[in-house]
């Protein structure tokens, strides 16, 4: 007999709870006001505009450090989420039991190269991470951030990360 698919609310609840645990435990994400929009396993990070994100008030333009922070948060959450997704979907980790204090260990940044393509305008920004390689020890993640047009990124970054079991 074919197995019945899980009810939609059970699936959503598990995934949203896991994502919430991953994001809410990090004070710096709250400090910057970064939010995550989830569609299936795909995450879009959102940096809602705040006056405190400005670097040059005369232009005005977003601070390079705010942009770099946004890209790094998106990369590390994107990688952490791809690992956690496998764990909750396979049942290796019980999503109902995880909270910010009981999360599996997260990857650590080894290096990050940020490429500033255009001025960051004083408005919301979005970013998506792509895990180009996820190895046993090391991972490589690429991130692109945009504002008005998805096809015109204003910043991109590549980072290498040390996987949790190999600290």
């Amino acid at each position: 007999m074919r197995q019945q698919p899980e009810p939609v609310q059970v699936v959503k609840e598990r995934r949203d709870r896991a994502l919430h645990a991953l994001v809410q435990g990090v004070p710096y994400i709250t400090f910057l006001g970064i939010e995550f929009d989830r569609r299936g396993d795909e995450l879009t990070a959102i940096l809602p505009y705040r006056d405190t994100h400005i670097g040059n008030p005369l232009l005005p333009a977003l601070h390079g450090g705010a942009i770099a922070s946004f890209l790094e948060v998106t990369a590390i959450i994107g990688l952490g989420w791809s690992i956690l997704w496998e764990q909750i979907e396979s049942g290796a980790v019980d999503a109902a039991a995880i909270g910010p204090e009981s999360l599996p260990r997260q990857p650590k940044t080894i290096d990050m190269t940020v490429d500033f393509l255009r001025t960051g305008l004083p408005r919301d920004a979005y970013a998506r991470a792509r895990v180009n390689r996820s190895g046993r020890r090391y991972s490589s993640v690429h991130v692109e951030a945009w504002q008005d047009n998805r096809a015109r990124p204003f910043a991109q970054a590549t980072g290498h990360f040390l996987m949790p079991a190999h600290e």
């Binding site: 990090v26 400090f31 405190t52 400005i54 601070h63």
Partner: protein, 144 residues
Amino acid sequence: MDRGTHLRGLIDALPFSKALGMRLEESGDGRAVVSLPYDARLVGDPRSGVIHGGAVSALMDTCCGTAVMTVPDGSGITATLDLRIDYMRPARKGARIVCEAICYHTTRTVAFVRATATEADGGEVTPVASAVGAFTFEKRGAGQ
């Protein structure tokens, strides 16, 4: 205005750097020292209390940009083209991080900068992070 007030003013003019609590310690001749006090709001790993890499990146970017702004024949205006940061080790919980940046070469249009971040107080000499970057550069009076 004394020199200390003037220096602090340079960082306070950057809303994001000010929000993170950064302080300009020294600057001049293409060199800058900027510090970041420990703040629980900047933590990346709540279990260890270690500051998020993104906040360290912001410190490095601010410090490198400030170094470029103090190049004697420069216009005092710059923007980051690219920045690579290597994280050597996590900063200890509670430690203030101090970044020193040196603009080691400029062309007519580009400034090359390197920076090192260490813990302000403590015997640990291994830097927390190091960075290299390229910034936009314009000579004073050029193109006006």
